[in-house]
Symmetry: C2
Subunit: 451 residues, 2 copies
C-alpha cells in the first residue's frame, strides 16, 4: 500500500490510478500507468505499468513525478457491431476462463478474469472472415481450480455444439492445467468427428506481447477449415508470431511458465501447423486423432476422482500408498524415476515400495507406472517401459504394477480416472496400457524429443 | 522360460546360452547370441541378442536354427597391466554403480552391476594419458535405490580424496536419480575447491552404442585439467559422440529415458563442454560453482529424510498434507501447476489446498512451492515465482508457502532435506529461497529453455 506521502502527493497533483505519468530518479526515467500498490512493506515505492507490460517499482523519495496525460477508461466493447457472414462455417467458441481472457485489476494489482468473451472478438476482427462464431461463456475459472467436473461440463457443451451443427469447436481455457484438460476431453470425446481445439494465452490480452489473439485466430481457423477430427491444443509453436502448432490432446505438456511456445508434444510430433495467414499444414498422415464411429458416438464423460498421481524419488516414503488405500482410492499412477522405478532395496528399513504396492494391488487398486523423465523411450523392440530389462523393474512388474508405455504421467492419471469412471476395474486395468485416444504409440519416434 | 521342445533341440544340437546362432523363419533371418528366456508365457519363443544390442524374440515352431560359432567367455580384464604415469594429475574415481558399470546377465536376461571398476580402465586406455587414476569402489547400487545415506557416503569419500591430494574427483553413478544426487552433493560439498564430476551411462558398456566410455573420458579430463570448482554432471551433450556437456549439480534434469543426451541444464546453460579430443570450453564466466572458503571448508552432509515432494494437479487431494503432518514431516515441497499453483477454489468441497497448507505452516512445517513446468520464468522484474501477480498465488503466499524461485522440484526437495539436516527450522526457512550453490539465479535467461 502507498504511504501517506505518496497519497498526498497524488491527490494534490490530481493524479489517479491509470493515469500516464513520468517518474525520474537517479539514473531512471520511466513512463507508464500509475498502478495501485499491493506490497505490504513498500509504502514509498511508486508502481508503474510500462508499455511493454512489465511493472516497475521506483522509490518515491527523491524522484520527480509528472503527469503526462489522463488515463483512458477501459473500452466499452462494441461487440454488437461485428457483422458475421452466414455463409462461413459455424464455429462455437466455448469460453471457460484463463489468461486468454484475463486482465489486470487496478484495484488489487492482480490479474482477474474477463467476463465478456465478446471482447476477444473485438480484438480479433479477422475472425469475422473465417467463421460464423457462436460465443458460449460456459464459466470463468482459473486453470488451477479446474476439476473433472468442469471437464465434464465442457464435454457436454462440445457435444451440444456438435449436435447443433458446429463444424468445429474452440475452447478457451487456462494454460496451467490445459494438458490435463486436453487429455480428459480426448478420452471423454473420443470418436468425435469435428475438430475440438483448446487454446489459451501465456500472456494476458492487455499485454503488448500477448499471444492471445494469434492463438485464438489459428484455433478458429483449425475449427472452421481443418480436416482434424478430435481434441488437441493449438498454441504458439515458436516464441515468435510465425505459426501455431496443433498438439494431440493426449500428448501435450506445458514446459515453461511464461514462454509463448510453452506447450510441446511429448513422444510424438505436432499434428499440424497454422500460419497467421490461415494456412494449415498437416504433419501427421492421420488427422483423425481418435477412433471414429459416427453412428454410435456419444461422449463418455464419467470420471473417478479417487485416483492419485504421486512421485517416487530418493528417500520417498512408500506409506503414501497406504494413505490412499485408507481413503478408498481405486487407482494410483506413480511417476517413477528413469524407466519407471521406485526404491525397492530392503537395505534401508523405510525404503522399499514393493510391499506397499503389492498390498494395493491385492486390494484391487490399479497401480500404473510412468516416468518423471520428460520423454520415454526404451531401446528395446518390445515397448517403452519394459519391465524385462532391469531386475528392479521386473520386481515391480511382478508386484502387479502396470507399465503405462509412453504416456506422460499427467495423461496416465487422467486416463485412469476416466477408465474407472466408465468401466469396471477389470476392463480399466486391461485398457490402461492399450491405446484409446492416441496416448500410446506402437513405436515412439526417437527423434520426437524436445521438438 | 523355454519349453521342453526348445530345450531338447538346443541340447541335441550342442547349443548353449551365449553361442552365436542364426534363426530363419518366415520373412525373418537373424543372427545373434542365444539368450535365456525369462518370459512366463513364451515357451516357444527363441530370444536372441543382436549385434546392435537389441533383443529379439522369434517363434521356435517353424523356424530353422543353426549354430554359427561357440560363444566367447567374458574377458578376464588384465587391469594390472595398465601402467600409470606418476607425473599426471591425481584423479580419484569413486565407483557407486549404475548403468555405466552394468552388464547383461545371461542367467536372468536382466542387467546387473559390474563389480570390477578396473574393467572400465581396460575399456578406456586413453585415460592413462590424462590422469593418475585411483579407483575407489565405494559401493554398487542401482540408481533407484540410492538414498541420502549413499549421498552422505559419497560426500565423505570425496572429502577424503580431496584431503589426499586429488586434483579432481569423478563419481560414476546411476543416471535415473543422478540429478537428485548431484543436487545433494552440490549442497553437501558446497565450497569445495576441486572439480567433482558425476557421470554415468544411458546405455550399458557392453552395447555398441554405449556412451559409458566417452562420458568417463570427458569426466576424467574435467577432473584432471579443468578450472571448475564444485559439483556437476558430465554426460553427452548431443546424441552423437561429438562432445560432453558439464551441468551445474543443482541445475540438471534427466529428460529422456534412453537418449545419450538425456541430461539437460534447467534455467541456465551448460557450464563447459569437453570434446573427445580433451578440449575444454568454458561457457560460464564463473566456473567456481559455489562459494569458496578454503580455510574453513568441510562438508556439511546432514540430511533430514522427513521431507516430502508431492504433486498438485486437478482433483488432487489436499489431505496428503495431513498425512505428512501425522508422520512428523518437517518439510514439504509442492510441485504445483504453472507458476506454482494448487487448487484453491472452495467450489468443490474436497478441493482447496489452502486450509491444509495453513495448518502445516502453523505447525512449523516448511512448505515450498515449485512448478511442474519444466522451466520457470515469470515475465516480471521481481522474480520467477512471484506471488504478487495472480490472486490465487497470493492466497498461497499468504498461507505461508515459500516460493522457490527458479529451482526445479527435485533440487528444491534435496535442498530442503539438506537445510533441515544442518540448520534449525528458522534458518532453513530463510535459506530455502536464497541461493546457496547456484540453484537460484538472480535473473534466469529467457533463452535457457530446452538448450
Amino acid at each position: 500500500m502507498y504511504g501517506k506521502k505518496i497519497i498526498e502527493f497524488l491527490k494534490s497533483n490530481g493524479i489517479e490510478f491509470g493515469d500516464i505519468i513520468k517518474v525520474e530518479a537517479e539514473g531512471i526515467s520511466e513512463e507508464g500507468e500509475l498502478m495501485p500498490s499491493t506490497e505490504a512493506n513498500s509504502e514509498d515505492i511508486i508502481i508503474l505499468k510500462m508499455k511493454n507490460g512489465y511493472n516497475v517499482g521506483i522509490r518515491f523519495e527523491g524522484s520527480k513525478i509528472s503527469k503526462i496525460r489522463k488515463g483512458v477508461p477501459a473500452h466499452e466493447f462494441p461487440h454488437s457491431e461485428i457483422s458475421q457472414k452466414k455463409s462461413l462455417p459455424k464455429v462455437t467458441l466455448i469460453y471457460t476462463g484463463g489468461t486468454i481472457g484475463s486482465k489486470l485489476d487496478y484495484k488489487t494489482g492482480g490479474v482477474y478474469m474477463l467476463l465478456k468473451p465478446e471482447e476477444l472478438l473485438y480484438e480479433v476482427p479477422e475472425l469475422a472472415n473465417v467463421a460464423e462464431l457462436k460465443v458460449d461463456p460456459l464459466f470463468s475459472i482459473s486453470s488451477e481450480d479446474m476439476s473433472y467436473i468442469e471437464w465434464q461440463g465442457i464435454a457436454k457443451r462440445v457435444h451440444e455444439a456438435q449436435k447443433e451443427g458446429s463444424r468445429g469447436v474452440v475452447v478457451t481455457i487456462g494454460t496451467d492445467t490445459m494438458h490435463y484438460a486436453s487429455a480428459a476431453l480426448s478420452f471423454m470425446l473420443n470418436g468425435i468427428d469435428i475438430p475440438v481445439v483448446l487454446t489459451g494465452a501465456q500472456r494476458s490480452s492487455d499485454r503488448g506481447s500477448s499471444d492471445a489473439f494469434m492463438n485464438l485466430f489459428c484455433s478458429v481457423v483449425l475449427a472452421a477449415r481443418s480436416e482434424i477430427k478430435g481434441v488437441g491444443i493449438c498454441m504458439h509453436k515458436t516464441s515468435s508470431d510465425s505459426e501455431c502448432g496443433f498438439i494431440r490432446g493426449t500428448r501435450a505438456r506445458k514446459m515453461h511458465t511464461s514462454r509463448r511456445d510453452a506447450f510441446r508434444p511429448i513422444n510424438e510430433g505436432y499434428v499440424a501447423t497454422v500460419s497467421y495467414e490461415g494456412e494449415i499444414k498437416y504433419l501427421h498422415n492421420d488427422v483423425a486423432l481418435q477412433t471414429q464411429d459416427k453412428k454410435a458416438w456419444v461422449p463418455l464423460a464419467g470420471f473417478e476422482k479417487n485416483v492419485a498421481l504421486l512421485k517416487a524419488y530418493p528417500n520417498s516414503d512408500p506409506g503414501i500408498i497406504d494413505y490412499y488405500l485408507s481413503k478408498g482410492y481405486k487407482g494410483i499412477i506413480i511417476e517413477g524415476t528413469g524407466l519407471g522405478h521406485t526404491p525397492v532395496s530392503t537395505e534401508h528399513e523405510y525404503y522399499s515400495w514393493l510391499p506397499n504396492i503389492k498390498k494395493a494391488v491385492e486390494k484391487g487398486v490399479i497401480v500404473g507406472m510412468t516416468s518423471q523423465c520428460l520423454c520415454l523411450l526404451l531401446l528395446c523392440l518390445y515397448g517403452r517401459v519394459n519391465p524385462n530389462v532391469y531386475r528392479n523393474l521386473r520386481l515391480l512388474s511382478g508386484a502387479g504394477v502396470i507399465y503405462c508405455e509412453d504416456m506422460s504421467p499427467e495423461t496416465a492419471y487422467v486416463k485412469l480416472g476416466w477408465l474407472l469412471g466408465n468401466y469396471d476395474a477389470g476392463t480399466a486395468k486391461k485398457m490402461l496400457n492399450s491405446n484409446v485416444a492416441g496416448e500410446i504409440n506402437s513405436r515412439s519416434n526417437y527423434r520426437d524429443f524436445l521438438v
